[in-house]
């Protein structure tokens, strides 16, 4: 059995939502789909960014399509436990995985106990692009990447708190490129990494979402943007590519089903997700969180994962 913390939206709320929702049903779905409630299986515990996005998507899918959708959390091994279990689901498309770039592009190359790769799944699309940035507390003697690298060179070393392996890889790549000693400090979860940076215990930190409100409040400075394009909340900060480093870390929240899912259902789910991410309620939430509501679509996600997997496979082989 494959199960953990499970939840359905309350039936009362579901009925109310169905009654209020205008039946949009733009997605073309087989007549008998879905034949049962749909589970969004989140590969992380409740409370994180992935979980929040999945819950929002679940409530919108429910409103827009009139399906019963509930969220289950299957944390463990950065989504690995969930993805491995998802492969056992049948072809009816009632189990949808919600994971991150780490789940699909890093896990398979990190651990020998993970027996899947990104090619074992179909992709409905993505829900949110994370704002990866190298940031630090304001008031430090450096405010961009060059100055930070100089600081590290003068001091002999600089510490960077990282909440996950992909951030650690990014830090090691930057250190290697400039030939300085940057020490990644492994931390359980990004929020604790953020706390150590705000307290001045480390020289910088890599963050995905939580630093945005700190930057808006003037408490932190973005040293470098790690995504391929500049971030809207820090338009002055250069990306790594602009800094002359051929490295971009794009992180996405990804919706996927097992490869053997019925192809008509796959199309249906992809369209349903697109409807969610295009809705104004969804983009409003993303705007308020200063995040990009980007949906790469089915093909976009696949080619993105192909490239990212290749990158991490090489990075981890060393």
């Amino acid at each position: 059995m494959f199960s953990s913390i499970m939840k359905k939206a309350s039936p009362v709320f579901a009925t109310v939502a169905c009654a209020l929702a205008t039946p949009a049903l733009a997605a073309t779905c087989p007549a008998d789909f879905p034949d049962g409630p749909i589970a969004l299986k989140v590969g992380f515990s409740a409370g994180g960014g992935t979980d929040s996005v999945a819950r929002k998507a679940a409530s919108l899918l429910q409103q827009q399509q009139g399906w019963t959708v509930y969220v289950e959390n299957h944390p463990g091994a950065s989504g690995g436990v969930m993805a491995k279990g998802l492969l056992k689901a049948d072809s009816k498309g009632l189990s949808i995985g919600v994971g991150s770039t780490t789940t699909l592009a890093i896990n398979p190359y990190k651990s020998k106990d993970i027996n899947y790769t990104y090619q074992d799944f179909n992709y409905m699309g993505t829900g949110m692009m994370l704002n990866y940035g190298l940031t630090t507390k304001s008031g430090k003697p450096y405010s961009n990447l060059e100055e930070f690298v100089e600081y590290a060179r003068d001091k002999g070393r600089a510490t960077v708190s990282v909440g996950s392996l992909s951030y650690e890889i990014a830090v090691r790549n930057i250190a290697k490129h400039y030939g300085v000693r940057l020490i990644p400090i492994p931390t359980k979860g990004s929020s604790r990494a953020l706390k150590d940076a705000l307290g001045g215990h480390v020289d910088a930190t890599v963050q995905g979402t939580a630093h945005v409100s700190q930057i808006r409040a003037g408490k932190m400075v973005q040293l470098a943007t790690l995504t391929s394009e500049r971030a809207t909340y820090a338009p002055e900060t250069k990306t790594l590519i602009e800094n002359g480093l051929d490295l971009a870390i794009d992180g996405h929240i990804i919706f996927f089903t097992p490869k053997h899912t019925d192809s008509q259902i796959q199309t249906c789910l992809t369209e349903a997700l697109a409807e969610v991410t295009e809705s104004s309620e969804y983009t409003d939430m993303m705007n308020k969180l200063q995040a990009a509501a980007s949906n790469l679509g089915a093909e976009g996600t696949t080619s993105y994962l192909q490239a990212t997997s290749k990158f991490y496979q090489e990075a981890l082989a060393k």
Binding site: S4, M6, K195
Partner: protein, 512 residues
């Protein structure tokens, strides 16, 4: 900096009828879930979040906070009545709460627990409202090096709880170290003792482990020891005729005011620092109270000071946990992380700008927290009679039902039958540990504290570049280390001298 209009309108928002109804509902749900062995507050919160989608943000947050507060009060109930702690933090409450209940004073023990819990929660909420900002600054001062020193202090103080034999207590702690190392190691993310099972990658789940070792082992013990012909009576005799045994007077509550006040400070500080949690606070407070008492041998026999020390401290954590969340945007524990999720679904990002951008909401939330505390007190008074009724059923029924709830709870909380098996294995381990006199408390506390300790060691080593002289730049860490030496020197021997001969500790053994 205080905008009075904002505060008043915020508080007024909290007072609406809808809001108060949701607060009441939240408290009731929380208390029931907390009091049911096998169900945890975290699970209750996770279930409650979807219900809040349809509510406005303030009502949603009020509801969730009420569930959390109700759960804290409810958690003490099974610990006190049947010595079956549903959550690790209430294991410390069982140490004195259950002996008191066994003496025929279950209602008195429950009331002690409730009053001190109410005091701890309310006071820490007031501290949060008045001085969150300075406390947050303090929390930020606690970097990896300081946390490491704090963990060392916690270990030295809590080692006073190892039980009758120091050697066996430390062996139990070593077992906690070992089981805590299962999963991916924090430094290099390589697997340890996972035997190829992905389910073990994140380690043994605390919920399944504590349900098994704390609650189910006690139930097994009770069931195995049932004898044929023994007319299965209620598990606890309730002597409700005597007013003395079922009521707690003001004088009795005030008798422990220093204990409760110290517990409040411990709980608030531990709560304000992200990542430590209410179990640490409860055991730390209990341990300090016991070791600094003139008569430590009375603890564990139903001493109200034991209940005061734990319930005040672990409830104070509930309010204080919101300090880093509201001021810095950093969730202090899983319950706070779930609140972040709920806020984000409503498009609100907690962070340093929260007071500025959502002042009305924050003050509304403060109002709701205060209301929830009083609802908690009132409803618990009422529920108490109900629990006393439930517990008056024959223990055959109570134990069987509790066992099923534990197994189902482990199944639902963490990963299906795998978690249920972990709970069963831990139940057997707990049973054997009890049989051979190894302290389950020492084992659980070591299991809970070790991951934080290990992470801090790794981080502190990297930050100081392995250079111990760097400590001079960490005065707080030095102060904490001095405190832990002091606690060994002053608390340890004094306690030993007063202990009975059977309480053999390391100090005595050198002479033996």
């Amino acid at each position: 900096m205080f905008d009075l209009d904002l505060i008043i309108s915020g508080l007024a928002n909290a007072m609406t009828l809808t809001n108060i109804c949701y607060i009441l509902a939240g408290v009731v749900i929380g208390q029931i879930v907390g009091a049911t062995p096998g169900l945890s507050i975290i699970m209750a919160l996770a279930i409650a979040i979807p219900i809040t989608f349809a509510l406005d943000p303030l009502t949603a947050i009020s509801f969730l906070i009420s569930v959390n507060k109700g759960g804290t009060v409810g958690g003490a109930v099974p610990s006190i009545l049947i010595n079956v702690p549903g959550t690790p933090e209430s294991a410390a409450t069982a140490l004195d709460g259950h002996p008191m209940a066994k003496k025929g004073k279950p209602l008195k023990a429950l009331k002690y627990g409730l009053y001190y819990s109410f005091f701890g929660d309310l006071s820490s909420d007031i501290i949060l409202i008045l001085i969150a900002a300075p406390l947050a600054v303090l929390a930020l001062q606690m970097g990896p090096v300081e946390i490491l020193a704090l963990m060392i202090l916690a270990f030295t103080v809590i080692s006073g709880l190892v039980g009758n034999s120091m050697i066996k207590g430390l062996t139990a702690a070593a077992f906690g170290f070992l089981l805590a190392s299962v999963g991916l190691d924090p430094a290099t993310a390589s697997p340890r003792f996972t035997f190829g099972m992905l389910d073990l990658y994140d380690g043994l789940h605390l919920t399944a482990l504590s349900i098994g070792a704390l609650a189910m082992s006690e139930l097994l013990h009770g069931m195995v020891n049932t004898r044929r012909g023994e007319k299965s009576a209620a598990s606890i005799k309730i002597n409700s005729k005597s007013k003395e045994d079922s009521h707690v007077s003001w004088a009795e509550v005030l008798a422990n005011k220093f204990v409760a006040f110290r517990a409040l400070i411990i709980g608030t500080i531990i709560g304000a620092i992200p990542g430590l949690g209410s179990t640490t606070a409860g055991f730390l407070s209990y341990s300090i109270t016991k070791q600094s008492a003139k008569d430590p041998e009375k603890f564990g026999t139903g001493d109200p000071r034991g209940i005061a020390a734990t319930e005040t401290a672990n409830s104070a954590v509930v309010g204080a946990n919101l300090i880093p969340l509201l001021t810095l945007g950093i969730p202090g524990n899983i319950a706070a992380a779930l609140l972040v999720s709920a806020l984000m679904i409503h498009g609100i990002q907690p962070g340093p700008l929260l007071f500025e951008e959502q002042g009305e909401l924050v003050y509304g939330m403060f109002g709701a927290m205060l209301i929830a505390n009083f609802c908690n007190l009132g409803i618990a008074q009422f529920c108490m009679r109900f629990w006393a009724k439930v517990i008056s059923a024959p223990k055959t029924v109570v134990f069987a039902a509790a066992l099923l709830l534990c197994l189902t709870g482990a199944y639902v909380a963490d990963g299906g039958t795998f978690a249920a098996f972990i709970a069963i294995i831990m139940a057997v381990v707990g049973y054997l540990m009890r049989m051979f006199g190894y302290s389950i408390v020492a084992f659980i506390v070591a299991f809970i504290l070790t991951p934080q300790l290990e992470e801090s060691i790794i981080q502190a080593r990297l930050i100081t570049d392995g250079d111990i002289t760097m400590l001079v730049y960490h005065p707080i860490a030095i102060a904490l280390l001095v405190l832990s030496v002091a606690s060994v020197v002053f608390l340890g021997p004094r306690g030993n001298r007063k202990k009975k001969a059977k309480n053999v500790t390391a100090g005595d053994e050198k002479n033996a």
